[in-house]
């Protein structure tokens, strides 16, 4: 049977909502789960979640736009967040940033055309003694140097086997 992607999302959301409950407090876990799985929260999902929790879609929209780790629009498979606060600044975050930008060909706040990488600024992540600090999805890297940037990016690319990448692209095209 041919299942449209929306139907599939619909069913997945049903399962998720049953698991997390229908109180307002279930909003964050549900959104985080959707974000984890799809890399962004599509507007149909926001409306469906709002409906299930008896709140308004616009409130879900408010929450999604409030948090940096939730996104309304598709972003890269790897979201690289570089700390820009003072100790990382002093530890040489600028060179790291420049290396990231040249290597990926995008500026901070942008996503590569192949939807693999997104660059973002982050504020303090509590690793001030080991700056410059950087976060790639959920993994943190400390004492990052321009040289290590290359290694980290290579590591990311190698994790995207052709098969894995196919799946990711499909998801983003939904």
């Amino acid at each position: 049977m041919l299942v449209s992607n929306r139907n599939r999302l619909d069913r997945e959301l049903d399962v998720l909502i049953d698991k997390c409950g229908r109180q307002r407090t279930a909003l964050m876990p549900i959104l985080q789960a959707v974000q984890r799985k799809y890399g962004f929260i599509r507007n149909f999902a926001m409306q469906k979640i709002a409906d299930a929790l008896s709140i308004h879609p616009v409130e879900v929209h408010g929450v999604v736009t409030f948090y940096s780790f939730l996104s309304e629009k598709p972003r890269g498979r790897f979201i690289i967040r570089l700390c820009r606060t003072i100790s990382c600044e002093m530890a040489g975050k600028d060179r790291v940033a420049a290396q990231l930008e040249t290597e990926l060909g995008i500026k901070f706040g942008e996503t590569t055309v192949d939807k693999r990488f997104t660059l973002e600024w982050a504020n303090c992540m509590g690793l001030c003694d080991q700056g410059p600090a950087m976060l790639v999805n959920d993994t943190h890297y400390t004492r990052v140097t321009p040289q290590r940037v290359l290694e980290i990016l290579e590591e990311c690319r190698s994790r995207l086997s052709p098969h894995a990448m196919q799946g990711a692209e499909e998801e983003h095209l939904v």
């Binding site: 507007n43 409306q47 879609p57 408010g62």
Partner: protein, 642 residues
């Protein structure tokens, strides 16, 4: 705690400002509503526990400025304009969000407070783009008055010179200009808490915060019901109604056009406020003169079609009951819902499309009048309907949307060309150089003339129901409404409670009046039955009632329910003068009921012009073929997913 060095314990060595606040036991703390004495500006005040500082100060005539606080809405405490100094506390506190639980010493205008307020207002202005001269809210703007009151003489933190956001003109009813928004979130609380529609909410974070619709879509594309309650509560000009006054002036100035205006009951009770009069000063007959002097060719009373609505909607109800009770037709949708409030109609279309069959198919009085003006009236007066410009003065912003609905063209033309709000009418009257209260009184124009008291009370919540009951009692029971209720004032349906339920046992039935003879043979089937009716205002309450009906609660046993989208009914509509508070709405309601009392004819079915209309024009009677074509409509199931 003491300042004597000898008594200082180790825990007290923290700086004084960081020590915990001393909580003294208030007197009689166990009693509910225990009183606490607070000292505000040297004045000892006894207030119940839990009263906010702002409420306490207001009660005793001490003025604390506010911006985000509104009497109709929950506490937000976001603007900080109302900060006060509390002795022993390091930071200033927002008085609107500080419930008093212990005896406090409060000062409302120390240098620190004054400086903070001044800076807060300066900061608000640093993001507030707009020239006051060109703003609809000029002289009626809360930010403007605060700036004046707190002596803002220059823009300490700068002032935007260019607009940052595009104006959202997409909706027929509400215009959003986010350049003027100061993020007080009154519209958010109105839309989400008061009306439970959920169109506006703060999005993004920190200095990027702005008020957005879902996915930042234009207002015409989201589930906005156009009630305009946000307009009434916006402290600045960020939210206004879509203003067609220029088009109306152009029509007036065009000699080939015959411009008619119909006026609803609520604007009369409210428009005086725009001319400095106390809320609740009725201006009905002064306004008639003023409108003629503005250049309108004919001034009609929407109450005439309110009376017609009662006959049409009442007949529809009796037919539904007949089908359900006598013909045992189980597909009949009961209870029947009123359909006068366009905000409520769109609310149903979006949120409860499955219950649309319960809606009465009768159009709202505005649209009925529109259809009649371009057919009956045009024919009678020998005017080409294409030269008639039909304007409606309404207390409502949703009426602007309603008159632009594509299906509202049953006369062959756009039934109502322009909807004006009370505020826009006041602007037009001032523009014509008229001071409304000085106008001599004059009556409405023929052929529709003055309506009945039943039409007038359409403006207040419960009014439609009261008007309907007056007629039902007389037409069905064959007794006079005065026999059952003193002066035909059906007090149980009046008031401002969110939802009301009233039961009317039908003990005896009278003969069937001639007009209904075609529809029902007799009333015997109603004998001994109990007519159950409900009244509800504000869409948040409507939601409760609809969910109750779905769950088979007490409202599901009703036969007829009146719904109004706005709190207080039309008199609290989104087109009424700003500000609005429960007291102002009560005063307007009083004006409306006073007007009802002063009318000679107070029941819709006693309006002689109605029966003349049925005789001459709607010849096949109420709910007949012609009236179905002109006076009834159908609804669109819109759904809430966009």
């Amino acid at each position: 705690m003491t300042d004597n060095p000898k008594d200082i314990k180790s825990s007290d060595r923290a700086p004084k400002a960081q020590r915990g606040q001393v909580v003294q036991k208030p007197d009689g703390v166990d009693a509910i509503g225990a009183k606490i004495t607070v000292n505000i500006d040297g004045q000892d005040i006894k207030v119940p526990m839990g009263t906010t500082i702002l409420e306490a100060a207001r009660k005793f005539g001490i003025r604390i400025p506010t911006l985000c606080h509104h009497d109709d809405l929950c506490v937000a405490g976001v603007c900080r304009v109302c900060v006060v100094e509390i002795e022993g506390q390091r930071a200033l506190q927002a008085s609107c969000a500080y419930p008093i639980t212990s005896p406090l010493k409060i000062k409302t205008h120390t240098p620190q407070v004054r400086r903070a307020r001044r800076h807060i207002i300066d900061l608000l202005l640093s993001k507030h783009y707009g020239e006051c001269y060109t703003c609809f809210r000029n002289n009626n703007c809360e930010l403007q008055s605060l700036a004046k009151e707190y002596g803002v003489d220059f823009f300490r933190f700068g002032h935007p010179e260019k607009p940052m956001y595009e104006k959202d003109n997409s909706s027929y009813a509400v215009v959003r200009d986010m350049n003027k928004c100061v993020l007080c979130r009154r519209c958010v609380r109105t839309c989400i808490d008061l009306q439970e529609v959920g169109v506006l909410e703060a999005a993004h974070r920190s200095s990027d915060t702005r008020i957005e619709t879902f996915l930042d879509k234009p207002l015409s594309d989201v589930v906005c019901i156009n009630c305009g309650q946000c307009i009434n509560r916006c402290p600045t000009g960020a939210l206004t109604a879509n203003d067609p006054t220029d088009e109306v002036w152009a029509a007036i100035d065009d000699p080939t056009k015959h411009v008619t205006i119909q006026t609803a009951p609520s604007p009369r009770a409210g428009i005086g406020e725009c001319f400095g009069l106390e809320p609740g000063t009725p201006m009905t007959f002064e306004m008639n003169t003023a409108l003629r002097r503005c250049g309108f060719d004919k001034v009609f009373d929407t109450n005439f079609t309110a009376d017609l609505t009662i006959i049409e909607e009442g007949t529809e109800l009796l037919l539904r009951l007949y089908k359900a009770l006598v013909e045992k037709d189980e597909t009949v949708a009961l209870p029947q819902f009123t359909s006068c409030s366009p905000g409520w109609v769109k609310f149903m279309e979006h949120f409860y499309p499955e219950m649309l069959p319960n809606m009465s198919s009768a159009k709202s009085p505005q649209q009925m009048f529109g259809a009649l003006i371009k057919t009956f009236y045009a024919e009678q007066q020998g005017i080409d309907p294409s030269n008639i410009v039909s304007v409606a003065l309404m207390p409502c912003s949703a009426k602007k949307f309603e008159c632009n609905r594509p299906e509202m063209t049953d006369s062959g033309f756009k039934d109502v060309d322009y909807g004006l709000t009370t505020r826009e009418m006041a602007k037009m009257i001032s523009e014509a150089g008229i001071h409304l209260p000085d106008m001599p009184k004059s009556d409405f124009d023929a052929p529709f003339g003055t309506a009945t008291g039943s039409g007038v009370i359409f403006g207040a919540t419960g009014g439609v129901m009261e008007a309907a009951l007056r007629s039902v009692i007389e037409l069905v029971c064959g007794v006079r409404a005065e026999d059952l209720f003193e002066h035909a004032n059906i007090i149980p349906v009046r008031g401002f409670e969110g939802t009301r339920l009233v039961e009317l046992p039908i003990e005896n039935v009278g003969p069937v009046p001639d007009v209904f003879k075609k529809l029902v043979p007799n009333w015997d089937w109603l004998k001994g039955a109990t007519l159950k009716v409900g009244v509800c205002h504000g869409t948040a309450n409507a939601k409760k009632v609809l969910d109750d009906i779905k769950n088979g609660g007490e409202f599901s046993k009703c036969h007829f329910i009146e719904f109004m989208a706005c709190p207080g009914g039309c008199l609290g509509g989104g087109g009424q003068p700003i500000p609005t508070t429960p007291e102002i709405r009560a005063a307007r309601a009083e004006a409306i009921y006073a007007e009802d009392r002063s009318y000679g004819v107070r029941k819709s079915h006693e309006n002689p012009v109605i029966w003349e209309l049925y005789e001459k024009f709607l010849t096949d009677g109420p709910c007949g073929h012609i009236s179905h074509k002109l006076l009834h409509t159908q609804y669109t199931a819109r759904g809430k997913y966009i």
